[in-house]
Amino acid sequence: MESPLTRNIQPDRVPLDIKAVKRAGGYEALRKALKSMTPAEVTDTVKRSDLKGRGGAGFPTGPKWSFVPMGPEAPRPKYLVVNADEMEPGTFKDRLLLEGDPHQLIEGTILAAYAIQAEVGYIFLRAEYKEAERRLRKAIAEAYEAGYLGRNILGSAFSAGFNFELHLHVSAGRYMCGEETGLLNSLEGRRATPRAKPPFPQVSGLWGQPTIVNNVETLSCVPHIINNGPDWFKQLSYTEDGGTKIFGASGRVNHPGLWELPLGTTLRELIFEHAGGMKPGYQFRGVLPGGASTDFLTEEHLDVKLDFTSVQKAGSRLGTGTAIVLDDQTCPVGMVLNLERFFAQESCGWCTPCREGLPWIANTLEALEEGEGLPGDLDLLASHTRKLGPGNTFCALAPGAMEPLQSALKYFRADFERHIEEKRCPWRN
């Protein structure tokens, strides 16, 4: 079983320096691309690999790049932005890649920039990732020194003097900055409110210029696709979605952590093999398979393959691939309340349903937890899960926030009802 993404990551996560990276095959893909592939060929290769975005939405990466206007008439400059604002609750997989192998990300970023012919790139990093910041700064400096960044990269006549400047930007810290257009506004120094689409960032992104925003893990896949070809990448997985994925698990499992596994690994294997199963004395009750903004799956779904299509069929989303496990001694209402408080707090305040609806939901859940629930509360919550659905709100924050709530109401309804009937939280003493 191959694990290209974590191949060079040491157990202590201390990254290799650029010499060691090069010895381990780093920047080979960049050399290959810049000396023998046109930008269109790079995009085409990624397209054929079926690489899908690893940030949560799973949008195909190659097609996304192909929407960028190319050729001499295209607006200049173009931008490549790395979304390293990993703030989804329960998600910490990009952190591993950022801290453990920053050169892999930088190489992928340069390749993506070459494919869309971007002149400037920004890594938009979560504020709290201090270690990653330190390591990225060092790695970027090394890459500049080695001639992988800056002007006339690798001095290649074939790539006609490709120039690319890469900057690290550390976020001031809001969940909204992880939404790609909120991120762009934040990067411009504006409030991190999302933008309406169309126009898409590929047409009007950073400072109104053509821009691609890709997740850390997505870009980290790219050097391996260029090195080994799309067919190799596709065969890494168990299913039709190409490649491996950094999966994770948190909650009351024996070994919370992260593992690079083929896409299509089952939920059961993830939780009960890699994460070591439930801690003694705890029973599995459910799981948010891909971070806080995905629907609960339960016992009956444990054999679902963790890929974009299969998880969706089961009624949830692969999301970031980092599972939050709910056990039998944790109140599902309390868990959902904790999540909804987070989403209400992180709403940017731009659109009405999100700004006003989420605090109402959080207040209602809190009332349930405090034994002050009323009979109509569950209907109120259920109606919000519909009204805060996709398209009704300005961006995906509130619809994402509704996923754990709507599935909790479906799978743990009796628990919600007990809160109202018993006028208390049954999990509290």
Partner: protein, 908 residues
């Protein structure tokens, strides 16, 4: 190309460039909204205008979309009445009302609140939320705006107007999630000259009119009428509101071509001069004691008039650019044209006639403010527009978007998609060159600014004209730096699609105006879409110029020719027109002096007889704005006490004089008819509003709304009998709540109000298309249409370069939106924003004079000497002195050479 769309199964032909909300409102549907504004486009924030969209005729499920963010593309199928869409819209209101205080009865917005209207429209009635409401701290924002943040529904309109549209910097959105805050970073006066529009832009009671609050009245209790702003020459349309004899507020009256949706703060808050204690309410005759005026019964005044005006007494009349066409014409009829004088200085009269000729003869047409907004390269020559013609500055601020917008068009971004447009445009601005004596409040959007003395400004202008057309005279000896600036400007103007040249009278320089015209003429040969704007200072400057071209010097001569002539002065403080000495001389040369005016001033103090005149609020009249557009304003309240419209007083003078016209003028229409017969240029004034006899279903149009309260109780403390409403002999409007309830013709709309739409946004129902003309067309008519074929010859008299003098400095008038205009400066809120009188020097000149910031200097101009504290401004050229135009004590005859002396500390 029109698109066919389907709304609830019916087919409509619409413009596919519009969004569905714009289309639905234009078609008359009641679709609620908050964040969208017709002048500011869509941002999709409030989610209030949700409708159900179907893919095709087979799609029965559909999905919710926001109408404001969805193009009205060919084949679009939507349902407004779809139950899911209706339920969602009610939910949006429910969410907005979670934290909105239930304080409508004590809220200034109550009764004209868009949030109230939309709440009723969606059917949300029952409060389910049982949790605490959020609260905020309110801010002090200055004398114009009251702040009540708890009422905020976070539609973001305030910051979008204040920052994005009006260029303000000190109002912003702070914090996040359900604690978003709209205000300043700390308490303080809002800086923007357009802050008052927040009152109308805010859909609820967060930003309300602070002056209204001082004498609060609900919209339904306000008596209102269509009016025209009295405080500059642009002619913005307004709706003043009155209760119990005092004026309570001004709101915008939409005019597609003129002010659109917005007013400046001088126009909105200047109204309180009408309520001023300085108002003249009684006739007064100079008593035995010299210099004292005694109030006497009107009957005695009229009989005294008979003596004063005995046949044979020569008569000299001085009119006013502040008075209506009718008043000026009446005086001119009384005295005869040969003895009627325009009441402005010789220089100002020359400027006005120059402007009139430029506009009348062509070939360059004047731009309406709407056209100004659409221009894509602008040169401003000699004007600080934010302070002389504020609404024009706001229009110019929009014009700089036009060139960058081309890029949005290229990328197929809908022009209503506001956030996307601003993203594409970023900080890019189309060309706007400002050539002025000092910095202006438009500099932040200017391509470049050049600060020169007036003659040098004119020379630079002539140089640009020469570069555009070599037939225009060459300017010799221009410094290289200015030559290259001229080249850049000429090239940019030449490359534009809709170039605009803006100048005006504020520097008192005919050469500056000539230079502006020369540029426009030269450009016109290259581009037929060239436009010009020449601003004039007062509400009827151009109307008066059309009527007469004789100035105060001519009046002086006439008085000298006719010793002991009786002088009749109409609504004019002559001391604001010329030096104190020359006006004193004028009075010395006159016999008896009759002054008809509304407010006490230095001129009324000279009068033997003062007759109380109506202001715009108490009288009807016609005004001609900077573009030659004649517009009618109507009484908001009947004149009280002895106040009468000026033309009616003049009719009394005619009676006393046994003038043949006396008795022929029974109402305003008679005056207008006589005017158009005497001067055919005014013929269209008869058509700009229906005559007095106009009726709809045999009824007049009521000035009072149908919910006007207390009609039978208002005077119950005096008598239980309800008095008959006052008659209005001049207009088809009634001082009553009875009358025609439907939509009147556009010139007679007394307020925007429609069933279900109680707020200012009821305007949608009065427009043929939202953001378009009013149903029935835009009111008013241009009196001047230039010939496109005219080929005027370029003026050859280019001034010499400005040469500083040894011991004297050229003093220029510097204008202040709050303080320079005669009437508005009497409004308390405006007075609070008016700076102290002062002199402005360049720091280097101050250093040369060994004067420090704040120190007092003494300035001598001809006979006048004034002592002023000093302010330093590095944007003013070193050899100039800036004086606040129109401020007390500041000489009227600026520009002029002054001597400056330092005032010793003991002396101060």
């Amino acid at each position: 190309m029109m698109a066919k769309i389907f709304i609830d199964g019916k087919t409509y032909e619409v413009d596919p460039a519009d969004n569905l909300l714009h289309v639905a409102l234009s078609l008359g549907f009641d679709l609620p909204y908050f964040c969208w504004h017709p002048a500011m486009g869509s941002v999709g924030a409030c989610r209030q205008c949700a409708v159900k969209q179907f893919k095709d005729e087979n799609d029965t499920r559909g999905r919710l979309v926001m109408a404001c963010m969805t193009p009205a593309a060919e084949g679009t199928r939507i349902s407004i009445h779809d139950p899911e869409a209706a339920e969602f819209r009610a939910s949006v209101i429910e969410w907005l009302m979670l934290n909105h205080p239930h304080d409508c009865p004590v809220c200034d917005e109550g009764g004209e609140c868009h949030l109230q209207d939309m709440t009723v429209m969606t059917g949300h009635v029952y409060r389910r939320n049982r949790f605490k409401k959020r609260t905020y701290r309110n801010q002090y924002l200055g004398p114009f705006i009251h702040h009540e943040m708890n009422r905020c529904i976070q539609c973001y309109r305030c910051v979008r107007f204040y920052r994005d549209y009006a260029g303000g910097r000190d109002l912003d959105v702070f914090a996040a999630h359900d604690h978003v805050y709209f205000g300043r970073h700390e308490d303080g006066v809002l800086e923007s000259e357009f802050s008052g529009n927040l009152v109308e832009v805010c859909p609820t009671g967060v930003f309300t009119d602070k002056t209204l609050q001082q004498h609060y009245t609900r919209k339904w209790d306000l008596q209102t009428a269509p009016s025209i702003c009295a405080h500059c020459g642009l002619g913005c349309n307004t709706i003043p509101g009155e209760r119990y004899g005092s004026l309570r507020r001004i709101v915008n009256r939409y005019h597609e071509e003129v002010n659109g949706y917005f007013l400046c703060d001088r126009g909105r808050y200047g109204y309180e001069f009408v309520n001023s204690p300085e108002r003249i309410r009684q006739s007064r005759i100079k008593s035995a004691q010299p210099g004292e005026l005694g109030i006497v019964p009107v009957e005695e005044v009229l009989s005294r008039l008979g003596e004063m005006l005995a046949p044979g007494t020569p008569l000299v009349g001085i009119g006013s650019p502040r008075a209506s066409l009718e008043a000026n014409f009446a005086l001119r009829s009384l005295t005869g044209p040969e003895n009627f004088f325009a009441g402005i200085s010789a220089n100002e009269a020359r400027l006005h006639h120059r402007i009139l000729n430029i506009l009348r003869e062509g070939p360059v047409p004047v731009a309406s403010l709407r056209e100004v907004e659409r221009s894509d390269a602008v040169l401003v020559l000699g004007e600080d527009l934010t302070n002389t013609a504020p609404r024009l500055a706001l229009a110019l601020r929009q014009s700089v978007r036009n060139q960058p917008l081309e890029r949005a068009r290229q990328r197929n971004i809908d022009l209503w998609n506001d956030a996307a447009l601003r993203e594409i445009i970023q900080d890019e601005k189309g060309p706007l060159y400002i050539l002025a004596p000092a910095g202006t409040r438009l500099d932040d959007v200017a391509t470049s600014t050049t600060h020169l003395a007036p003659d040098d400004l004119a020379r630079l202008g002539f140089a640009i004209a020469h570069l555009l057309d070599s037939a225009a005279p060459e300017v010799s000896g221009l410094p290289a730096e200015l030559s290259s600036r001229a080249e850049e400007i000429a090239e940019t103007l030449k490359a534009a699609k809709n170039p605009l040249i803006v100048s005006g009278t504020s520097l008192g320089s005919e050469a500056v105006i000539q230079a502006a015209a020369s540029i426009a003429w030269a450009l016109k040969a290259v581009n037929p879409d060239t436009r010009i704007v020449l601003t004039v200072p007062e509400r009827n400057s151009l109307g008066l110029a059309l009527l007469d071209n004789k100035d105060l010097d001519d009046a002086q001569e006439a008085l000298e020719r006719n010793p002991n002539a009786m002088l009749v002065i109409l609504e004019n403080d002559l001391y604001r027109r010329a030096s104190t000495g020359s006006i004193d001389k004028l009075f010395d040369s006159a016999g008896q002096v009759v002054v008809i005016d509304s407010l006490e001033n230095r001129t009324t103090a000279k009068a033997d007889l003062v007759l109380p005149a109506a202001t715009f609020a108490e009288g009807d009249g016609t005004l001609v704005n900077y573009e030659g557009r004649a517009q009618r304003y109507f009484q908001v309240l009947p004149p009280r006490d002895e106040i009468r419209e000026s033309w009616r007083w003049i009719d009394e003078l005619m009676r006393a004089r046994h003038h043949e016209l006396h008795g022929t003028w029974n109402d305003l229409d008679d005056v207008l008819r006589a005017l158009s017969e005497q001067a055919p240029v005014f013929a269209p004034v008869l058509e700009i509003a229906p005559p007095e006899g106009f009726r709809l279903v045999e009824q007049k149009i009521p000035r009072q709304p149908h919910r006007y309260s207390g009609r039978t109780a208002n005077r119950a403390n005096i008598t239980v009998h309800e008095p008959k409403p006052p008659d209005d002999p001049d207009a088809p409007l009634a001082f009553s709540m009875e009358g025609y309830k439907g939509q009147p013709p556009p010139s007679l709309i007394p307020r925007y109000w429609a069933p279900g739409w109680n707020s200012v946004q009821a305007l949608n129902k009065f427009q043929a298309e939202v953001g378009g003309p009013l149903i029935g067309g835009s009111p008013g008519r241009r009196l001047i249409e230039p010939s496109a074929e005219a080929r005027p010859s370029y003026p050859q008299d280019i001034p010499d370069a400005f040469v500083p003098r040894e011991d004297e400095y050229l003093a220029l008038p510097l204008y202040h939106i709050f303080g320079s205009e005669e009437l508005s400066r009497l409004a308390p809120a405006i007075a609070e924003r008016t700076p102290e009188v002062h002199a402005v020097l360049h720091p280097a000149l101050a250093e040369k004079l060994a004067a420090a910031d704040g120190q007092s200097i003494q300035i001598r101009l001809e006979g006048d000497t004034i002592r002023l504290p000093l302010r330093l401004d590095a944007s003013l050229p070193e050899d100039l002195v800036g004086l606040p135009a129109g401020f007390p004590g500041i000489p009227a005859n600026l520009p002029g050479w002054v001597k400056i002396e330092l005032v010793s500390e003991e002396g101060a």
